[in-house]
Structure formats: structure tokens, C-alpha cells
Symmetry: C3
Subunit: 675 residues, 3 copies
């Protein structure tokens, strides 16, 4: 079984914890669910201590009641295995199960996401629970999907993990000679002569200066890969336990978008469908969640994903937790759909009475009211989704632009000493993503191993590590006549973050037609102008000094000792008009847009509404071939467009002819079925 | 025995460490004491290693000499038990006595305030020492009071404390079901099935994100209460050891004003009199120490307290330690008396030669001079206090305004995720205290359990938790015709910080006549205007959206999507003109003053000199019925008032008639006996 | 044997790690060395795991080849003992060898500079390796010098170090009574009754508030001295092992300039010559490395030192790592020579492929090119140094101004509570050093024990501790007619940082003719003007209130309650026109220059080019008596001077007459042999 669950409409609902509430509250809640068009409940995410009160006892009363009621009321359930937070008895009986942190401290019982992934007790008991649940509910009519664990993440540094790491390393490197070479252990006298000498990289070993400062990138990269695999191993084990009883129901776990600690590309093959929890940072622009949506869609080759969680109003865990303004929830929900979401779910259906998520926004607040602003907006959206029916389900994004996203590059770039710790990977990636999106291009965000043959444009910003055949595959894009862009701090290391013994940008050099002779860095408040046509872009942080080797300058530095040298170059590559673009510095927004729009223009990929600030467009093609254009007005002003084609707005039913006026309210949405 | 020591005048002096000095220095010091009017010495605060050089040996030579000399020279001694800093031999012999910190690290010997309150060795040896001292000095003619330990505080997280915590929890909650319910452990799978599963909340358990971030408020609140009680248990044990030999001499320990870790309201019943050490933060306004004085006075139902420590010149422990300007020491000392202090004591009489308080200000510096500015100011004040005699002793403050101060609310507000970590409890409390004080109202700062029947106005800012019958008792104030004010973030939880399953502000809702539908929060640099009459107050941090349920708007938001909705409301309550005021946002100083002055005005509580900026007034009524009005000019300008009544200034002996000019020098003080 | 190696020219080259590279890379590298005039290689710094792959096996193949090749190609080798980074097998076999950090955490294997100095296994194995190397290479024709370990530093807090500390204390203090008195342990009940009670001062004992906050300065000062001695003991043991086989070759270890943790004055007698690694902080003015050079020169009574490391281009370990601009490398290298360097070496000859120094600048980058900007500058400088020949070797600086630099004062000032943590020792020292240097004075930076009889001016800024006879020896300077300057926060403690029981500035009082009555401190953003002649200097941080006792005011405060009181004073002392100057506050740059220039002027020590901003001068007198004047233009403008004497520029061969124009290019250098 693979793919998301089949549903007659966009599933709508979210996390609900019946174990927290007496029956009369649950009754009232369900009445409100119906009122708001809620048809889907995620249940059991933190119910382990309820489901298994002692090692030898299980109690499914609450779950039985909840699923039966769902079935009776026509709701479907996403059933969680509940293994993301240990019950107290387990932590006491098997102290090994508690994590040892980066500082080397064995934890006591507390929090959630608190299990050591290498603990045999955890493995045994978590799979036993998952198996029991599968056996009991596989055939339940309310069951829609399996939700294993929750937001897998964090890391453990215990002796068991150290042992597992050594086994993992042996499998990966084969011999110590290979490992010593990969990690470049002649540096600082680190040549290992026995596998047992290897310790997890932590505050007590290679990371004296902190989590983002390692003495050896090789060991830290491998530990991050190992820890990804260790957590993934927990998932796979639970999935196998489920599959023993439930062979068809799709299985997922909820991801967290651009979450650095875990390489979701390693996870993706093991999920039936991707799902994720969207909590954009304070004041993030709309392209931030959009990038995350597209990254999640890219996990399964463009298949639709689920928006497993979002807040209907506020978060709680941040220093400042502003409200979603009126209309923002609807807009964000349709944005998710526009980018490929086939479900819209909330955390949480009802606010917890106690503990640290008490203040987290919920569809139903502590007072149980249905006359709050938030409930009204949720219910209105419920009705709208109901009306939309199946039209978007299973639709795919016909992007001709790809953006490479690479966890290894992220890790290497941010853990390394030099050139500048002020550069953050996602900021660079987002800058190029954003530029393509405001120009109206649909973008697939894909791993470096993805098939690139379908793209006209490939953006590879901050591609710090160049692994496998990626350079050759990028050259192939240009040989087909496509355009490839990369930037400063790309091509700096191989898969172990060893420098190439060639000019920077290493294997990307031939395609880019440049060599980088040296690189200057400056504090955050220093800018250097870069001339791009009529534009002076204020560049920051890193200033690579580029010597063209075939490329022509497109932009030049105009200050400091590198004034007059190229800051942006273009290299003709192959016989079909392909190009390699190199951006040697961190341009500002205007500069990045200038560059990316020129590239998109070459391929006719600038969108019809690119001139309208704040108006996002996204296309999906439905299984029946219908072409849907989502128009999302992120501004708080009305936007008056002129239709670029005849179409019908699925939300209003109104039809427009080409060049008809098309009005988007502040924060408004239209879903055009193009003709 | 209860109450402060009986003295013929305001005791004047402070901490002196004879064990640090050879006899000739001590001789010189005592001559200077006499010169400065010093009549009281606090002795032995850190003398344990001197008094008990080994577990089996005691040596009272230095104390004998010091007390005998005091008696001979007419000075009185506050005798400390010296148990706040361990001797090295004890820490080595009983490693259990060293604390385990929040990070789970067992400490080695060092520092002070370093004992585990659950250590049997500490309990046995500290009470033995206290008992020995009591037996030896109970009848000494110089003995004035007992000073147990010093600035009790901090916390321990060792296995012994964990055990004691479990015992404490069992007594408090009775059953695990009750505890699970109180802590809302259905959240995150925390249902405890055995008392031994419970660990102290620390960096290794529920506080991964730091001391102010807990996963479960319930456990953390209880640990803070437990730790308060554990330290208090040490105090009580020493007090009992003293009382075995010394039945009448009053016992105290020195508090620290608004000190978050320890709930002084739990301590208060066990002290004979309150005393505290005043070290206001850098650039604190004069209302800051005033609030602390009033809080300390409120510990014992308004009985006078002692100012046990203040610096004559500078602190040492801060990054920056400015001097008290000329005149500030006198002003601060009279301010303490104005608020209820019956003693004025310093830390320290003589500056230590070595260690970390070497630079702390002292009456006598390293050179032993009497011709320093500081010594002159100390001596001048000594003469002034001498002249004042008994007049202020035992006097009480006739406040008709109460301000509720609640450690549980403080803890809950600042440890919780959401809505905003930028709100700090004492800042909100101080804002309302300050507004009442600048309007000239005397204010009692009292626990939520206090008898409120004597007050016209009760201010309950940021009353985050509503425990017991406090809502009913606040309603009773309004029913009598009084006014009750509360603010944003009030009424959010019960005693375990569980949300009420009703509208915000929970049990305060009927009195306030509002429900809070939702709440927006913003970063510190964002302000939203609130219109209050002619005033635009710049509100910050939290913006609750209020739906009146009987209340009328007094002020309104004028921006964002809640423009036009009420930010301040007033609700008539009961049949005698009582009112409940709700302030839904963090108003600026002007806005807070505007609101509070309107309330005080209703009850005729605005003071006669409220128009004079920087002039503080405070009233005390002496046991003989004399009404004393303290006028304290905190500005550096001369203030020219017009007497509001006939009176005699006790410091100058000058009499004024009503409407006579009354001139206050910069930083000047007058103590008017009203006629 | 003492003194630096004898060489026919300034040794030029740097760290090279042949163990990292295959033979073909090494071949290419050596060709480039020749091209760049590289004649010296530092080899083996981190080669332990290569040289000794197991406890019982040594392998010198790589070293043999490297030294033989060097000899064959006419290069000389600085041979490192390689003991600064443990091999993994050693850490696993002897866990004791891993350090225990300030937080009390025993580390696992990782990083470098990772050995416990008290570990017997480390001592045995490190000296065995050093001995083996000495035996094998003592007579090798390429051997130029021994380089023990690398950048000794950091600290360990393990039980073995605790024991060694106790032994060290017993030797230093003799009795516990003496120790108790020195540390002033009557404070906070710390009187020790057994040596075993003493714990290293750490986060778990006396430093709860952090590394710079101790409860007892005495114990922390002693631990820093002990740890200096413990690391020095490692050095001495290796040196002895070398001397058993190599009796004449000079031995050094590379220091780090103003490196707080280790008192290099304790080390100096044990080195044959001083050497150091210069990595000035981001945006440091040129006087910063100059101060470090002069401090290093002062270690061996003014004998030349070696610049053992500098980067040819960038660092890697900082958040931001800017490039050295064109010309800066040359200028910095000549500046080192101007201040007494007899060698110019780089870290590193070839950039590492992997690990945390991959991005550190190197003469040869990853691509192995000789057509980079950096390689060209390195090669040009190589040619220039070649041409310079022997002329500067062994030359000494004829300074008549001394500046006292005292690690004890540094430690005490920055670890103490009060008066202000915003004052940093090196900032104050640098301010006075800078003022003297911009006035054109050569400055010896010397320990407080140095012979001062040759100086006209002695600057003793922030001489926090006054130890031994230093006060008397400063008085002797003034008695000879010289001038002594000291500042705020001087004379505050004895060698244990106990306050003197006299007026501040303690033993410096008679010479200064003042007493400091008290001291105000203010946050960093507050300035108070000080009037100095026509200048208003903006003073900051500390404002001492000075009462003259013979001194006359030179500058006065003009604000706050100390307006009109002296901020700078001058005291005539002795019969020969000597003076003591006291500066009571942290003047700004202009104020400090005003004061220092007046003092230098008295003694005719203002240099001939002091009026030219950015032009640094430094004098060295060659062994043959030639007087060399280095002119260093740190500005990016051309500077046109007029020669103050007839001279020949050794770099151009051009001769100038007195008053001839003398043009310095931007960042230009001239080395004038004066006639």
C-alpha cells in the first residue's frame, strides 16, 4: 500500500485527546465538531500511559469508545501509536530508555520525545503497542490512517547509541582506513585504530564550542545521518508491527518542514504518504510555509501530502505568540492545498486544561464555546472545504523549476568553522525559492538525487556538498538547454565535507565557468553594493572573488579591493543554449529577484500575475486533467487583477473571461479552474 | 513570644564579623561605632567554621568577647546561628550535605547557601549549633534578637530531596489519582502509577528548555512550594532548638523582598518578626524598594519589620555598582521607616579584606577612616535617629488600599508557555503599586488569603491563579461599595494552574462583567494605542480582546483588528456602588496612573501632595495614636509644598500651620506629626 | 643553550603536515615552497597518532622522509613533539588522560589540547615520545629548533589535578593557617582544617556564577597559578627528555600573546626563546598585535622572538573571518620584525582537506595553485625577506618607556565582584600602550619584577595587585627623575587580592600623593566629561573620587556630585623632578593620549613622526650597532613625511638626507638604517 488515504473530500479536523475529558465534555465537543464540518480526528498521540497502564496491562476503553463514536457519527480517525512520550513506569523500569543529552547527562523521566532510539526496551514495548493497536483496529470502520509516533526528532548520546553508531559506521565505511580517510583524521592526531575508540560527537568530545561547532565535520555528519536512521528504525519497526495486522491502511508520521536534525529524504521511502505540522516562525513571509509545503511534497515525488497540524489561532511555545488575524487561517489553509495538501488538520481540537500547551490555540477553547471568532472561522472554512469536494484531491503540481534541498549541505554549512557563521542554509535557500515564487513560477523542492530531466530551471543555492553524480546531472540540465543556478558556498566539499583538491566550486566549476580565488566575509551590518543592470543590490556576509573561466559577468562588485570583479556570472554550456549562473555573494531581495527573474524569463516561466505584490499563484493539475490556478492574496489590500484566461472560480462559482477583472479581497483566495 | 524586639529607639548598626579582625582593628572599629551612633551589631552570620572547628569541638571565644564588649559599651547584639554557610569539614564528612543543582550536578564544597535542606547531617548539626548558642547566650544582657541562617534561598535536586518531595506530595494530594488530576497528566502520557516515578522537575526531567520552561506547571509549582517548605523546615528546626533555651527573645531570618524562589507568605507565621535586606536593582525607581517594604510589612499583618541590611554606599555583586549619591542613604533609610521599618541596619560595618564582598560598601572601609563621605553620612543619620527616639516604634500604616501579591501566580505566570514570556509578574504588580503610590495612597501589600474587609480599594494585577475563596472575597469588597481592579492574564488557572473550564477571567468574570474571547501578543517593541479619556496610552505585550458582559468600556483599542473594542472596562457590582475594573493590556505608566487615580478618587484616597512629582508620602499611626506623615523628596530639586494640615516636623522641631509653605530639600525628608 | 636559533636570514615558512598528503601532493608543495622563498617548515605538530600508532609501536617514516627532503632542498625544520593532541588509543587505554572541565564533566576522546596535565600516563607517554624524537633527529642536518606541544592552555579540574593542587598549595603556603589567612577564609565560614577539604574552584564549588565570578579570589588566583605551573611542568618534562639527547638545539613552545589563562611570565625562564601565534581580533587596531609582540619580546628581557604562526589570509574559527586585504600581510609581517621578531612563519603551508581548519587561510590552497593573490603576496614577501638578509637578526629595541603587564592583576581584576565588570584589563593596558605608541615611543612590555632602572617612563595601568617590592621600585624610578603613571583600580590588593588596610591605592599612595575616598561606576553608555587643558575627555565605567595628599590636579571631573574634584593628578616625588601621575577614570582615547604625551614630552620621548596619523615607528639596534627605524603606514592613504635624519631604506636601497621627502605608500613599509 502506498499513497495517501482515499477520501471523498479534503479531510478536516485534527488532534483530539479524549483521554483528557469526561464524557459530558466529549459530548459537547462532538456536537461542535459537527457544527464546524469536522470529519477527521487524530487520536491517541500521547496515550501510551492510558493504553498501557503497566507493562502487562492494556486498556483500550477510551479508544474503543472514540472510534466507535466516530464511526457512528461519520467521522474518520487517524490513529496514532502513541509512542512519542513514555509512560512513567517504563522510564523507571528501564532507565536506559531515557535519553542521554548532548552534554552527556542521562535524563530522568519527563517531557516527551524522550526515548533513546537504541533502547531495546523501547523497541520491544513500542512495537508491541503498535501491534496491539493494529490488531484491534485494523478493520475498524473509522480507521483512515496510521500515525506513528509524533514529530520524531532530537538525539541521544548514550553508550547504547555509541555502540549502534559504531555498527552503523562499520557498515557505511567498511574499514577504519576508509573512515580515517573520510573524516581526514590525520588532522589533530585523530587516526582511529579500533572502532571502540569512536565516541559520539558531543559537548564532551568534538563539540566543546557547542552543537554547531565540531572539530571534525566527518564524524558529526555521520552522527546526524546515524541518528536519522536510528529514529527511522523506530518508525520502520512500528510500521512492520502494524503491517502484520493492517495491510492496507496508509501509514505516516508527522514531519516538521525545514527541520534540521532529521534528513527527511532518508525517511521518505518508508512512508506511505508525507504529512507535516506547519508552525511558521514569527513574522515569516508567506513563502516560508510555501517552501516547507513544497519540500514536503517533494518527499514523495510530488504526491499530495497532508497538513497534519496547524494552529487555528496561536502557538504557545514561543516567547511571543501572536494571533492569526481574521482571514489568515483560511488563507494559510488554502495555501497548503494550493501547494499539494490533501488534508487540512489542526492541532488541536480542544485546548488542554493543564500543562505546557494549555495556551496553544484550539478549535474549542476552555469554555467550550462556539461563538468565538476562531470557531466561526474554523466552521466557515469547514463549509468551504465541504463545498470544494474532490476537486483538488490527488492533483499534482506541474512545476518546470526545481530547487535542490540537501540536508547534508545544511548540516555541513552550519557546523563548520569558516568562512562565516552568519550564513544560514535555509535563509539562502528561501531567498531563491522566494524569488522564483514571487515571479510566479511553480517550484518543486527536491533532493539532489531527484530526476531533473523534467525541469527547465534548476536552482541549487548553497549546495555546499556535491555528492554522487549531481554535478553531471546538473550539466545534463544545461546540455538540454536548461539553466542551472548555484551560489557562494557551493561545491565546497564532498559527502564527508572534505574539500575538493580543485578550484572552488569543485565539480560545479565546468558548468559555472568560474573559479573562486578567495572569499571575504564581513559582519552582518556591512553591505557591499553589487551592480546588476540598473540595480544596486546590497550584498552581505560573504563575498567570493571570482575569476571567470569562460563565464561572462552579469553583475559586479563596486567597492572594496574587489571592485570591478564579477559578483554574478553566466556561462553558456552545451550546444542548446543552456547556461550556468553563479552568484558569488548574498544579494539582497531585489538582487536575488533580478537574477532569478532573468533566468525564469529565458524559459517563459514568469507567471501572469507576477506584477501584483503579495498575490501568490500556484497550479495543480487534477487527476482528470483539470488545471487549477490558486490565487492567494497575502496583502491586506484588495488586489484587482485582469484574468489571464477564461476560468471558473470554484469557491464562488463565478466565471471570468480572459481580461475580465478579477478582484481578490484582502487575504482573499480564488481557485480558478482554467479552461 | 511574637513581635519585634522592644527597643528604646530605632536600632542602628549592622553586620559585623569580629572573627575576621585582630583585636586592635576591633578596638578601632568600636570607637567608630560609638562615633556614628551605632548601637546594634549583627554577629555570627558566617561563623560556623569558627564556632565549630570540628564536629566535636565548639569555640565561643570570639562570640563571648564580642557580646561582652557590646554589653559593656551599651550595644545590643542580633545573634546569628551561622548556619547559612557550611564549614569545609562538614562538606567533606557528609557529601550529601552539598546541593545537587538544577542541572543534576552534585556540588563540591564552596560558596554559601550551599546546604541541602533534606540532609539529615545538616539538620542535626545546624540545630545542634543553634541550640548551643541559645543555651550559652539566652541570658546574655547584649542579646536582642535571634537571626537564623541568612537569606534562605536556592534549591536542591538531590535524591534525598526527591524522596522528601514524594512524601510532601503524598501529604498534599493524598492519592495518585488526585495528583494526576491536579497536574493534568493525561497530557503527554504522564499518568503516574507509583509515587517513586515522580522526579524533581529539573533540566534533566521537565525543564529541558530552562528553569522558566516547564512541561508541567503542576509539578513545578509543587516543587517550588515543597522547596519553600523544606527550607522553612530548616528554619523551624533551628527555632525549636533555640526555644528550648531561649523562650522570649524574638527570632527572625532576613528575607529579600520580591524574591521569587521562596514564598514568604508560607514563612511568615513562623517568624516572630519580619526582616529583610534591601538592595534595589540598578536604576530602580523609589517605588521599587517601597513595594518591597510594604510586602514585608504585609507578612505579619502590618506589624513593623526590620531593615536588616542595606548598603551604606555600593553593592559589589553586580556588573555595575554605582554609589549611593550624597543624601540617598538618609532618604532610603527614612523611606524604610516610613513604610514600617523599626530598625535601620547595614551590611556591613567593616569591609572584608578578601573574597567576593571585599568591594561591598561598608560603614568603615579598609583604611579604617572616619573622615570619609560615607562615614559622615552614616554618623549624621545615627544622630538623627538618636534624636527621633521612640516616636515611630510600633507605628502602623492606616492603608485603605490593598494590593494582592501572590507567589503562586508569579511562578505560574513566568514558567508557563504562552501567551507571552515578555510579561514579568513583578513589573505588572509594580506598575499598579507605583500608580497608587504616586497618587498618594498608602498601600498594604498582602497575600490573597488576607482579610480584605478593611479596604476600599483592592488591586489584583496579574492575579494569574485564582485559589480558594479569593473571587468571593473580592466580590465582597465590591458588595461593600469598594473597587476591585484586575488585569490581563488574571484568572487563568486554579491552584495547580489548570485552566478554568469557563470564560476568562474564570471566577473573576462575574465581578468584572467581561469575558475575554482571545488574546494577542506582540514583541516588546510594538505598541498599540489605547484611548483613555484624552489620553493615548501606549500598550504593549498582551492585548486581550474583551467582550463586555455587563461592564462598560472605559478605554478602547484604536488600532489593529480589535480597534474599537474595550481595553479597560468598569462593571458596577452589588447594590452599594461597588465596581470591578478590568485592564486588558499592559498600559504604559501614564495609562496605568490614569486608571488607578480614577479608582482612588472614587474613595477619596488621592493624597494631598499627589501633584508634586517625586514627593512620596507615607503615613504611620503610632501606638499612642499620633499620626505621622513622612514626606520624602526623591527628586534632586527643592520642592515647595503648602502644608495640608497643622503639624510639627519631628526632624527639625519646626511647626507649620495649614497652608504654610513647606520646603523639602533635594532628597529631603520631613516627618510631620499631624495635629 | 639559550636564545633563538642562529640563521643566515629571517626564517620564512610555517606549519606543514606531510602526514596529510600523498607523495605527489608533497612534491608539488615543495616546488611551490621554493618558488615562494620558503626555507623553514614546522613539522609534526599533530602527528602523535601517526608517530606512535600503538603504545608499543613508533613509526618515523613520514618524518624521516620530510626531514631528509628538507635537508636535501636546503630547508630547515622546526620539529614539534606532537603532544598537544592525544591519539585515540591513548584516551581509551587511560581515561584519566581526558580532561575534566570547569563544569565537572569528564570528557571523552575528542578535539585537541585535551590532556590532563596531572595524568601520569600523559607524562610518561609524552616524554617518551619527545625523547624518541630527540634521539632520532638531534643530529639531523635539517633540525633548526624544537617545538614542544602547541599553544598550551585550558585547564583541568579532575581529582588528580585536585590532588596536585593540594601539593602545590602546601608548598606555596606551608601551613593551613597561612593559606586561611591568604584566602581570607573567615569570610563565609571557609576556614579549612585539612588540606583534603580544598577543591579546585569550578562551577561546582566557588564559581556558581561562572568562570569570571569566584567567591574567593585567593583560591582562584592560586588555581590559575597552579594550572600554569602544571602545564609548564609538562613542557619542562618534555624539554628534559629532549635535552637528554639534544643538548644545543633551542627549544620553544608557541604562545598566544595576551592569553589570559596562562601566565607566560612564569613560563619564560624555561624557554630558550619565545615564539607566538598572532591572530589579532576582528577589527583590532595595529597597536593590538604590537602590544602582543612587545609583551612576547619582554618575556626574555628584550631578546628577539619568533612569529611562529600567522595566517596568510583568513582565520576560520571565528564567526566572521575576513580576508587580509592586499598589502596587509606584508605590513603585519614587517611590523612583527619591527617589534623584535626574528622569524616570520605561517599557519599553514597547505590547507587541510577536512576537519575544522579546512577554511583556515594557507599559502597553498586546496587546488595547489601558485597564481592566487595570496600566493603571490607570500612569494613577494619571501623575496623581500631574502633580500633583507641578516640585518635585523638579533637586533634589540632601545625603549626608554616600560609598561607593566601582570597576569595576577588581570586575573584578579576580571574575576572579582565589584566595582565594575565592564572594565577589562587588556583594554586599559592597551589604551596606555596605544597612547605611547602613537606618540612614537618605543615601549617594553615587562613583568612587575623587571629591572626598571633603564626607563624614564613607567606606565602601570590597572596595576590591580601590588606584589613584592614593586611600589618601592616604582618610587625609585621617580627618585631618579622618571615618571610613573598608574590608574583607577590600581593598588587594590596584595598578591592574594586581599585589600590593603590603608587608603587606596595602597602602597602606590605615597608616590601618587593621593588617596581614593570612594569610587562610582556606571553602565557602558554613560560618559562623564573630564577637563584636561582645552580638552573634554569622555570618561567611562569607573570614576574614582580622589583626595589629593600632595598631588596637584591635572584634570577634573565636570559633572555629577564629584564635579570639580580631580580626575587626573600629578605628584612631584623625590628630589630630581620625578613625578607620579594618577588617572582616576577610564578616559577616552583623546584623553589618554593627552596625558601620556605630556609625560613622554617631559622626557623627550615623543617620536619624530608622531604627527602622522597611522604611521607607526619602531626602532631596533642591530648587534653591530646599526640603528634601524621601521616606518609602517597602517593607513590606506599615501603618507608624505620629511626625513628626520639621513638614512638608507633597506627595502629600496634609496638614501635620504635629513628633511628630504619620504613617501610611504598605503600600507607601505620602510626600514631606515639611520646614519
Amino acid at each position: 500500500m502506498s499513497g495517501a488515504p482515499r477520501t471523498p473530500k479534503i479531510p478536516y479536523g485534527g488532534d483530539y485527546n479524549p483521554e483528557q475529558w469526561p464524557e459530558e465534555v466529549a459530548d459537547a465537543d462532538h456536537r461542535l465538531f459537527t457544527k464546524a464540518g469536522i470529519d477527521t480526528l487524530t487520536v491517541g498521540v500521547f496515550a501510551w500511559s492510558l493504553l498501557q497502564p503497566t507493562e502487562d496491562t492494556y486498556d483500550f476503553t477510551t479508544l474503543d469508545r472514540t472510534l466507535d463514536r466516530a464511526a457512528a457519527e461519520g467521522r474518520q480517525v487517524v490513529l496514532a501509536t502513541g509512542t512519542a512520550a513514555l509512560p512513567p513506569w517504563l522510564a523507571l523500569a528501564y532507565p536506559e530508555v531515557n535519553r542521554t543529552d548532548f552534554e552527556g547527562r542521562r535524563h530522568g523521566y519527563g517531557q516527551r520525545h524522550n526515548f533513546c532510539p537504541s533502547s531495546p526496551a523501547y523497541r520491544r514495548l513500542s512495537t508491541a503497542l503498535a501491534g496491539r493497536l493494529a490488531r484491534r483496529y485494523a478493520a475498524h470502520p473509522a480507521l483512515l490512517a496510521w500515525h506513528i509516533n509524533n514529530e520524531y526528532g532530537g538525539a541521544c548520546y548514550c553508550a547504547r547509541c555509541a555502540d549502534a553508531f559504531r555498527v552503523w559506521l562499520r557498515e557505511r565505511h567498511g574499514t577504519l582506513d576508509a573512515l580515517n580517510d573520510a573524516w581526514w583524521t590525520t588532522f589533530w592526531s585523530h587516526r582511529y585504530t579500533d572502532w571502540t575508540q569512536i565516541e559520539p560527537p558531543s559537548a564532551l568530545t568534538e563539540h566543546w564550542r557547542g552543537p554547531d561547532h565540531t572539530a571534525f565535520q566527518g564524524i558529526t555528519l555521520d552522527y546526524q545521518r546515524f541518528m536519522t536512521d536510528a529514529l527511522l528504525g523506530c518508525f520502520v519497526a512500528e510500521k512492520e508491527a502494524i503491517r502484520a495486522h493492517s495491510t492496507n491502511t496508509p501509514v505516516t508520521t508527522n514531519f516538521m518542514g525545514m527541520y534540521r536534525p532529521s534528513d527527511y529524504h532518508r525517511w521518505a521511502p518508508h512512508l506511505d504518504f508525507a504529512s507535516w505540522d506547519s508552525y511558521p516562525p514569527l513574522d515569516a513571509p508567506p513563502t516560508w510555509p510555501a517552501l516547507a509545503h513544497d519540500l514536503m511534497r517533494g518527499l514523495k515525488d510530488g504526491a499530495p501530502f497532508w497538513l497534519m497540524e496547524q494552529t487555528p489561532s496561536t502557538t504557545a511555545c514561543r516567547d511571543v505568540n501572536p494571533l492569526r488575524r481574521p482571514g489568515e487561517l483560511r488563507l494559510a489553509s488554502w495555501q497548503a492545498v494550493a501547494h499539494g495538501a490533501d488534508a487540512v488538520l489542526y492541532f488541536q481540537m480542544r485546548a488542554s486544561r493543564g500543562a505546557c500547551e494549555k495556551y496553544h490555540g484550539a478549535v474549542i477553547g476552555h469554555a467550550g464555546r462556539d461563538d468565538t471568532r476562531v470557531f466561526r472561522e474554523v466552521a466557515d472554512l469547514g463549509a468551504e472545504l465541504e463545498a470544494a469536494g474532490t476537486v483538488t484531491l490527488g492533483a499534482r503540481t506541474p512545476a518546470r523549476t526545481a530547487l535542490l534541498f540537501d540536508w547534508d549541505s545544511w548540516w555541513a554549512l552550519e557546523m563548520s568553522d569558516g568562512p562565516s557563521r552568519l550564513v544560514t542554509y535555509v535563509d539562502v535557500v528561501h531567498a531563491y525559492y522566494r524569488a522564483a515564487r514571487v515571479a510566479g513560477a511553480d517550484v518543486d523542492v527536491v533532493p539532489v538525487t531527484a530526476d531533473l530531466s523534467g525541469y527547465d530551471v534548476v536552482l541549487a543555492p548553497a549546495l555546499h556538498l556535491v555528492k554522487g553524480e549531481v554535478a553531471e546531472r546538473l550539466e545534463a540540465v544545461a546540455e538540454r538547454g536548461g539553466t542551472v543556478l548555484t551560489t557562494f558556498l557551493s561545491g565546497r566539499g564532498d559527502e564527508h565535507d572534505r574539500a575538493f583538491l580543485t578550484d572552488v566550486p569543485g565539480p560545479l566549476g565546468p558548468l559555472m565557468g568560474v573559479r573562486v580565488d578567495e572569499w571575504d566575509t564581513r559582519p552582518a551590518d556591512v553591505t557591499h553594493p553589487v551592480r546588476l543592470g540598473d540595480l544596486d543590490s546590497a550584498a552581505r556576509l560573504v563575498f567570493e572573488i571570482v575569476i571567470p573561466r569562460g563565464a561572462e559577468p552579469v553583475g559586479t562588485y563596486t567597492s572594496d579591493f574587489y571592485a570591478g570583479t564579477p559578483a554574478v556570472t553566466r556561462n553558456r554550456f552545451g550546444g542548446r543554449g543552456g547556461e550556468g549562473w553563479y552568484v558569488a555573494t548574498h544579494l539582497d531581495e531585489a538582487g536575488t529577484e533580478w537574477v532569478v527573474r532573468r533566468i525564469l524569463d529565458r524559459h517563459g516561466l514568469v507567471g501572469p500575475y507576477a506584477a501584483h505584490a503579495g498575490v501568490e499563484t500556484a497550479t495543480r493539475v487534477a487527476p482528470n486533467g483539470d488545471r487549477l490556478l490558486f490565487l492567494l492574496n497575502h496583502s491586506t489590500q484588495t488586489r484587482e487583477l485582469s484574468a489571464h484566461a477564461a476560468a471558473t472560480d470554484l469557491l464562488t462559482g463565478k466565471r471570468v473571461e480572459r481580461e475580465d477583472p478579477l478582484v481578490l479581497d484582502p487575504l482573499g483566495v480564488a481557485v480558478l479552474r482554467l479552461e
